[in-house]
């Protein structure tokens, strides 16, 4: 005879990916998946492919931020540190020791999880604003340290050697973006599945409980600090995977770029625009904001970089004022209402 708790958990796990998909939604989903798979074969423009790769990559990063901020309610403003750790791990292992990036990615994720423990144990017990400011300061401290660290190239960073061997073994594709496309799609789907599983796992429910009311959760016997550190580790590891992938994509890294505050900012913006704490929100945010920034760069030339940020900033202020639950809630409400009505 299962306990109540186990039965509830079982029921929650049985919950489908989306509430009772109507036929049109299933069809739309299937078409969407087919389009995503066929995309690089149908559209051969490298720029369009590049945009999609960035969308997938940013979706992973936003999903990573979603784990710590959306699920456990701790606002990190220094998430670029994990991105940079992932980037530097593959870079250093490749340039100094000739180790394949496939191993580098895993090592980077482990190191990022370790860094999350080191940063998280003292800071995660800080309340709201204090934690946000602490991560902001730690993020820029890490950047300063790497910019002075001669062994990893100090401010000029590292250039990854071009390899002519097996592209799949070396994770370097010089002639086509298509392999990068499928790899980034796979990483994005993986990140998506991680958050999907996490949201309905014991850990996920506990995180959401302590996000909504830490005192109540603690009084029910949830170890608040330990769970938050766990979430931070998962989040950091996901971010590091994105950093490693990005480095293999551009084959160059420097502290100014991979530890940039802009990375920390953008993951926040994407997740909040889409809907933090939700499964689809981060992906929606990435799908909206990446094309905005890539195409504004084309339309407005070199000044475009700041036009997209101006729109991002204004958008996020507007969303915080009128739709703090994110754009996704506009659709989600409608779908749920329709699903509820017979």
């Amino acid at each position: 005879m299962p306990s109540d708790q186990a039965r509830m958990l079982e029921a929650a796990r049985a919950e489908p990916l989306w509430p009772k998909p109507p036929a049109w939604a299933t069809a739309l989903g299937a078409v969407g998946a087919a389009v995503l798979l066929a995309y690089p074969l149908l559209i051969t423009s490298t720029f369009a492919q590049h945009t999609m790769i960035l969308i997938f990559l940013y979706a992973v990063m936003a999903q990573s931020w979603n784990v710590i901020a959306g699920l456990s309610g701790q606002i990190s403003l220094g998430h670029a540190m994990f991105f940079g750790i992932g980037a530097y791990t593959v870079g250093v292992l490749d340039t100094k020791f000739g180790i394949t990036p496939w191993i580098g990615i895993v090592v980077g994720m482990l190191l990022a999880a370790l860094a999350a423990v080191a940063v998280g144990i003292p800071t995660l017990r800080l309340k709201g604003h204090y934690f946000a400011i602490a991560t902001l300061l730690i993020g820029s401290s890490v950047q300063i340290i790497f910019a002075r660290w001669d062994w990893v190239g100090a401010a000029s960073g590292l250039f990854l050697p071009l390899k002519r061997g097996s592209p799949w073994l070396d994770f370097q594709f010089h002639t086509s973006k298509v392999p990068y496309y499928y790899l980034s799609l796979a990483v994005a789907v993986l990140a998506f599945l991680v958050v999907w599983r996490l949201r309905r796992s014991r850990l996920g429910f506990r995180l959401q409980a302590l996000r909504d009311d830490a005192d109540a959760a603690a009084s029910l016997g949830i170890a608040v600090a330990r769970h938050k550190v766990l979430a931070f580790m998962i989040s950091g590891a996901m971010m590091a995977a994105a950093g490693s992938f990005y480095t293999q994509y551009v084959l160059v890294l420097d502290p100014e770029r991979v530890f940039s505050i802009d990375i920390s900012i953008i993951v926040v913006l994407m997740t909040v625009v889409g809907g933090s704490g939700t499964l689809w929100g981060p992906a929606l945010g990435a799908a909206l904001l990446v094309p905005l920034s890539e195409y504004s760069r084309i339309w407005f030339g070199s000044t475009g970089r700041t036009i997209d940020l101006m729109i991002y900033g204004a958008l996020i202020v507007a969303i915080c004022m009128w739709r703090p639950s994110g754009l996704l809630s506009l659709f989600a409400e409608r779908i749920r209402r329709r699903a509820a009505s017979p």
Partner: protein, 287 residues
């Protein structure tokens, strides 16, 4: 290391610290009134510096532009409060943080779009050169900036402790509901807090622009110091901001001198972590 170096570092640290303090006090005041951290504080400082710069281009020395910039920033404070913050007060914390954070992103991008990322300097201001006191040299702009910031601080202190409006402001910060019951218009007090807070930033930005580069990211380098100052002094404490601001100026200049200039920011950031972990209410905090 000679004694002169250390005295020199102490003097310049205190002068810089007075500016940090004036930037921090606005942040602290706003937090004390409505528990919102203004993540766009550094960007307002940057806009104040640009305002001062453009007045100088038009032929107005920063010293004369000072009241204008302060008034403009105060007005901006009212706009931000009534336009944005009022709606965020009841929102979840994520929306509060991201609201002002988004404002910061937009303001920085707008500055870069309007005025390019170039570094600009005000050359030949009314006050220039340096004075020699015994063995040490002090830049006159820094000296005047420190003095003006201290004066602004004294005025703010007198206002808050000696006038009825100031007392109402304090009452609102202490207990919003009780203040409302006593007939204090708490909503207007919050708006006033934003106006004063950003007015202080206007003064600090104008004085800073007389000897510091003006560029879109300048706020991003000062804002973290203000966060540290507010945490150190205690969120909501005015006197705390002054002490903490000066302390940070000192730590920064002495740390830069005794340890390594490139790590002076790290030392200050470490101070923040030490404070929030060991004494989260800060030196003068009330909770």
């Amino acid at each position: 290391m000679s004694k002169e170096f250390i005295i020199q570092a102490i003097v310049s640290g205190v002068l810089m610290g007075l500016i940090y303090a004036l930037v921090a006090v606005g942040l602290s005041l706003i937090f004390g009134l409505m528990e919102i951290v203004n993540f766009a504080h550094g960007e307002f400082l940057m806009w104040a510096m640009y305002a001062s710069f453009w007045f100088w281009v038009l032929g107005l020395d920063p010293l004369f532009a000072l009241p204008l910039v302060a008034a403009l920033l105060g007005l901006a404070g009212l706009l931000v409060h009534y336009g944005i913050i009022r709606r965020l007060l009841t929102a979840p914390m994520l929306a509060q943080v991201c609201g002002t954070f988004g404002l910061a992103v937009a303001m920085r991008a707008a500055a870069q779009y309007l005025w390019t990322p170039d570094f600009r300097t005000i050359t030949n201001p009314l006050i220039a050169g340096r004075v020699q006191i015994g063995p040490i040299f002090i830049g006159q702009p820094q000296l005047v900036a420190g003095a003006v910031c201290l004066l602004a601080f004294v005025l703010l202190w007198l206002f808050v402790t000696r006038t009825e409006t100031g007392l109402a402001l304090q009452a609102t910060a202490q207990d919003r509901q009780a203040a409302a019951v006593m007939g204090i218009p708490t909503e207007r007090m919050s708006a006033l807090g934003w106006a004063i807070g950003l007015g202080c930033v206007g003064v600090a930005g104008t004085m800073l622009s007389t000897f510091f580069y003006v560029f879109p990211d300048v706020g991003a380098s000062f804002a973290p110091l203000a966060f540290v100052a507010v945490a150190l002094g205690g969120f909501g404490s005015i006197l705390g901001s002054l002490v903490a601001g000066v302390l940070i100026g000192l730590v920064e200049s002495l740390g830069g001198l005794l340890i390594d200039p490139s790590y002076k920011t790290l030392i200050v950031f470490g101070l923040y972590l030490a404070v929030v972990l060991v004494r989260p209410m800060g030196l003068f905090g009330r909770f």
